[in-house]
Amino acid sequence: MLNAKVFLRAVSFVNEWVGKACSLFFVPLVCIVLLEVILRYAFNRPTIWAWDISMMLMALTVVLPGGYLLLKDAHTNVDVIVRRFSPRTRTIIDLVTSVLFFFVIGILVWKSGEAAWDSFLSREHLATVLGPPIYPLKMVWPIAAFLLLLQGVAKFIRDLGKIRQHRRDNGQ
């Protein structure tokens, strides 16, 4: 029981921190695109690096905080139907549908790992003028998918706890 608590707290801590850090990437993203517009329009000197770098920053701001979004319940869903159910029923539904969640994220971890490994072995580069290496970005993917998986496990444990709590309350 103690171990579960430590695990839950650690996962929340890591994902919270990753989310906060990723939100800062928006600052260089906006600045780089703005700089590119100014350099191109006012000085007629477009850069060859702005697009590649901003694309990578964008990917980071989306992929890495996947677990953070789950932690903050920010992956939207349609609750028109389920909100009519009792909290207990909703928790049970969540537990059942988590099979699909683990299937999706499991495949993402596995396949993104495979893609990252292939990309690393061939030292893949982007096919642009600058041609920066793309394999570091692809290696971020399995890490991000794993963080999301951890957060999903944490949610699963919490949901189980809720059910157990409910049963205890009713038992007395």
């Binding site: 939100s23 993203l29 695109v33 979004l69 939207t76 349609v78 999706v104 396949k111 893609a115």
Partner: protein
């Protein structure tokens, strides 16, 4: 198993996952993966990942984070309250003036942001309590805010237009320009509706008492406060129009400009910025995961032949082509009651646009009508984003039922404009076609 049966099963399982409250992004990915595994074999799963990866790094989607950051900076920048002060002085003496003014401000904000929620969140905090304090009836005060906010995605710049362009293979610039005529028309009709209704029944929205009205001198001085917002609109739209920035890059121009305005209004604190960035991270992550899931689903639907099957089914329907068009628009409208705009476009547009072309209609016209269509979805119960935003901001004694009642006439006006747009393609197309 026939393609038809498989397609049916596909959408049935997708609907089931959504109905069970499973997150939209994972529903898109999950159902696609299961069907890929069954119908294309385990080797196709690698392709599933690579199409999702491609979705996250697609050029056009760069606009989405930039537009979201722009909007979240505008929310705290103080632009909203500056505009509101001017509007209060100029329109306060009219019956229903504050409600009309709110619509006008929402229209202006729509021209600097690309999302539906920005104006709702900003104006909801400033304008709603003021109108209620001035004895405006609940439905006059409540309706104009989510309705005005829904103009955000229609009047350029617009993040939803970019999604539409990406999934329908249309020109972003033309969709932007095409949104202007229906957007301005809707804004005008909203004001006309409020004016007529309040003229007939002054109880609904009394004019400000004489002693609190602004003098002409105050009115003229207050115009100073419009300068910054107008400059921001000019910077964003002007940079697109002159070609200084692409529609994507205009998001960064707007974000930079909004940050500058916030600095001038002394609102650019570290705390405000940090909160705005975290808000942007959540909204952006939500939208982009849906986009990634959508790209993945499109790839699977076309690899299994399902999109072609639906397409030929729609083309060969024994109905007049215009009826098929109307059916597709209706599908969008009905889905809009339950899903958000991004999800609807991701699912339907890649299937609909080839059908529109095969039936001999202009896909740009269809796309613009579809934009009008999805903004109706923003304000129709039970699932209208803007209604939830309004509820989140309004005081405790305002129920979801109050908001539903208040919004219906406005949704009706938007529906009329949609019908007009479908009936008169020339009205929608003359402006974008003038671009050459």
């Amino acid at each position: 198993m026939t393609t038809g049966l498989m397609t049916g099963l596909f959408f049935l399982s997708f609907g089931l996952a959504l109905a069970l409250g499973f997150p939209i992004a994972f529903s898109l990915l999950g159902v696609s993966m299961v069907f890929a595994l069954i119908f294309l074999g385990p080797t196709s799963l690698y392709f599933v990942f690579s199409s999702t990866f491609a979705g996250f790094t697609r050029d056009v989607f760069m606009a989405i984070p930039l537009y979201i950051v722009m909007s979240s900076i505008i929310q705290f920048s103080g632009l909203g309250s500056a505009l509101y002060d001017v509007m209060y002085k100029w329109f306060g003496s009219l019956r229903g003036g504050l409600a009309m003014g709110t619509v006008v401000i929402c229209t202006l904000m729509a021209a600097m942001t690309g999302l539906g929620g920005t104006a709702v969140v900003t104006m909801g905090v400033i304008a709603l309590p003021e109108m209620l304090k001035r004895n405006y009836s609940k439905d006059t005060a409540l309706g104009c805010i989510p309705a005005g906010g829904s103009l955000g995605p229609l009047i350029p710049p617009s993040a939803p237009a970019i999604t539409l362009a990406a999934f329908g293979d249309l020109s972003v610039a033309r969709l932007f320009i095409g949104g202007i005529v229906p957007g301005v028309l809707i804004s005008f009709l909203f004001c006309a509706y409020i004016a007529i209704r309040c003229f007939l029944n002054p109880e609904l929205a009394p004019a400000l008492p004489r002693e609190t009205r602004a003098t002409w001198h105050e009115k003229l001085v207050s115009l100073r406060d419009v300068i910054l917002p107008i400059l921001l609109v000019v910077a964003v739209l002007g940079s697109i129009y002159t070609g200084a920035a692409t529609p994507t890059e205009a998001g960064a121009v707007g974000a930079g400009g909004a940050a500058l305005c916030a600095l001038i209004y002394r609102r650019l604190t570290w705390r405000n910025l940090r909160e705005a960035l975290l808000f942007a991270l959540r909204v952006n992550g939500m939208v982009m995961w849906i986009m990634g899931g959508g790209v993945c689903m499109c790839a699977i639907l076309s690899a299994t032949g399902a999109s072609r099957w639906i397409g030929s089914l729609l083309v060969e329907l024994p109905l007049a082509p215009i009826i098929v068009i109307i059916l597709m628009q209706l599908t969008g409208l009905i889905l809009g009651m339950f899903l958000d705009g991004a999800t609807i476009k991701v699912i339907t547009i890649p299937i609909f646009i080839p059908v529109v072309v095969a039936l001999g209609f202009d896909p740009l016209w269809f796309g613009i009508c579809f934009m009008v269509n999805t903004i109706i979805g923003y304000i129709t119960p039970p699932f209208g984003m803007n209604l939830f935003y309004t509820k989140g901001i309004a005081s405790e004694d305002i129920t979801m039922g109050d908001i539903y009642r208040a919004i219906l006439p406005f949704a009706g006006i938007e529906a009329i404009v949609l019908i007009v747009c479908i009936a008169f393609p020339g009205m929608v197309l003359w402006l974008p076609n003038m671009m050459g």
